[in-house]
Symmetry: C2
Subunit: 323 residues, 2 copies
């Protein structure tokens, strides 16, 4: 009897399929591929599968209690941890895919430079067809960075900032454990002490109950006037109303948000018009970069081989902790 | 009798003045400082000076034949080389100030990422308050770069691209001499051979008769459809009309111009409206970054000490060659 894998993904190329087929054969599995418009076919096949590789809570909800492993091709698995009822099998293993480090880090370097080099203002000058070029700018070189989140994204960001001459890179994480590439890592419990000396705050936290509004009104008030805030984690991590007020009043130098709350942002939301804000519609870490897709498939195949051998999965998520 | 230096600069801080005073004293000189609104006072003082540190063809034109050294605080000295009549003394030494490598390289990294990550299009999406995030993007990692110009700017750009995982960095220079940080450097005479395989072309050439329209209509036609062009050297290096046509017709993926011809760009110029073009009003390398100013003063002081000892100047420009 065959052991089956249901694969419901939009980004797979022929090369990706071949890689998955080869890993599946080696692990003793048969893969079944479905495109985004084949939800019904995928649902039907899923009923006899023990593994699902997708990023669809809707499809997962239709899975039988015999599903043993759900490999989510996203990094953020908060929708699956907040609501355990999406799993018919309470012991179903959940893995996530941290394949977004490089693309998100490149996004962070881009918006960091755009903020330091006053691109929101220069963008307006150019739109008005004016010629003015004397705004004081700042540099990554010799600058100091505070990274709230020291996971895969934080490590990739730190590496790039260091390569461009950053003088100091401080990390903040739940544990405060040392991480290569950081000058120091503190526990998040020390956040209030650290905020008053922040120059550029880069947030890449997962969406968990502890991270909701972690940058709240009081903490935004602790930031220096010339600080910049960048968020590529979850929109819920920032209390948006006081952030907008701080930007519009000049109490904060600028911000770049790739994530917000809610998404999509409604057309009448005040974030669209906030001053010195670079908004992007959650583009930093999706599957639009080939490299990201390659790594994603590689991570699934590595864990599939481990699964076949009965070894612990590398990208296993603690479903109660949320990451 | 004192030997005098006329200094006419807008960017000097107290620390900079103190550094210059100390170097001048050591070299046996007396410095005289003038702000931008003191042109007349500077002109008067200049009559008895043997050194001028400024970036003003107008002031230089008023200098006596006894001026021995003009230290220009800009990197681009084409206005002084094209028109030798700005020097009353035909043997006056000219030095330039390549203090802009870091700030221009950061600009290049920024616009490279903005092009690869489709920011002109995402900017328009956000301005329309729409939510769309599936444009295919590209990465610096594993990508290939062609740098037309391997001087101070090119070297700083190459270093940063390499730090972000660039797979291949090819340089093009007049001599084709090997430069550290480049995988290969070819003479510019091979440009036509190289253009058809360009992915991202980064131009940082000085303004000389040979570089005018070096990227002309025929050469723009040699570029692949998915190529990007970045120019931070001189606007005259690109034939603008065919570039605009190529951008608007989709014959070229995009461009980022910090320099153009003429500057300021007239309000009715078609460049303002070209598709997938990131325009900045010559901001990449001016004196708005503290680090640039620090290096600029340091370069002047180093050469001042050499000048005092009668040694050859480090940043001497060949006035006939233009750089």
């Amino acid at each position: 009897m065959s052991r089956d894998i249901c694969i419901y993904q939009e980004f797979l190329t022929g090369v990706h399929r071949a890689k998955i087929e080869s890993a599946a054969a080696q692990a003793g599995f048969v893969p079944h591929f479905f495109a985004p418009d084949q939800f019904e076919e995928a649902r039907e096949c899923l009923q006899r599968c023990e593994v699902l590789y997708a990023h669809s809570p809707d499809l997962l909800r239709t899975a039988p209690a015999s599903l043993k492993w759900y490999c989510c091709s996203y990094a953020g698995v908060d929708p699956y941890c907040k609501d355990p009822s999406v799993f018919a099998n309470p012991d179903c293993m959940l893995t996530n895919s941290n394949s977004y480090g490089v693309t998100i880090a490149e996004h962070v370097v881009m918006v960091t430079l755009m903020l330091l080099r006053r691109m929101p203002e220069y963008g307006a000058i150019v739109r008005d067809r004016e010629w003015s070029n004397q705004l004081p700018i700042r540099s990554i070189r010799d600058n100091e960075f505070t990274l709230l989140g020291t996971g895969n994204i934080g490590i990739n960001v730190a590496e790039r900032l260091r390569g461009m001459g950053a003088a100091q890179i401080i990390g903040l994480s739940r544990s405060g454990r040392a991480v290569p590439g950081f000058d120091a890592v503190s526990p998040i419990s020390r956040l209030d002490e650290i905020l008053p000396s922040v120059k550029i705050l880069i947030m890449s936290l997962p969406g968990t109950p502890e991270t909701v509004h972690i940058l709240n009104r009081d903490r935004i008030a602790l930031l220096p006037r010339d600080a910049y805030v960048i968020n590529v984690g979850r929109g819920t991590a920032i209390e948006q109303k006081p952030l907008i007020e701080a930007l519009n009043s000049g109490r904060l130098a600028g911000a770049a948000l790739d994530v917000m709350d809610p998404e999509p942002l409604p057309p009448d939301h005040p974030l669209w018009e906030a001053k010195n804000l670079i908004l992007t519609p959650h583009v930093s870490g999706n599957m639009t970069l080939g490299y990201t897709c390659d790594v994603n498939v590689e991570m699934f195949c590595t864990d599939l081989l481990r699964y076949g051998r009965g070894e612990p999965l590398k990208n296993l998520v603690d479903r109660t902790r949320g990451y």
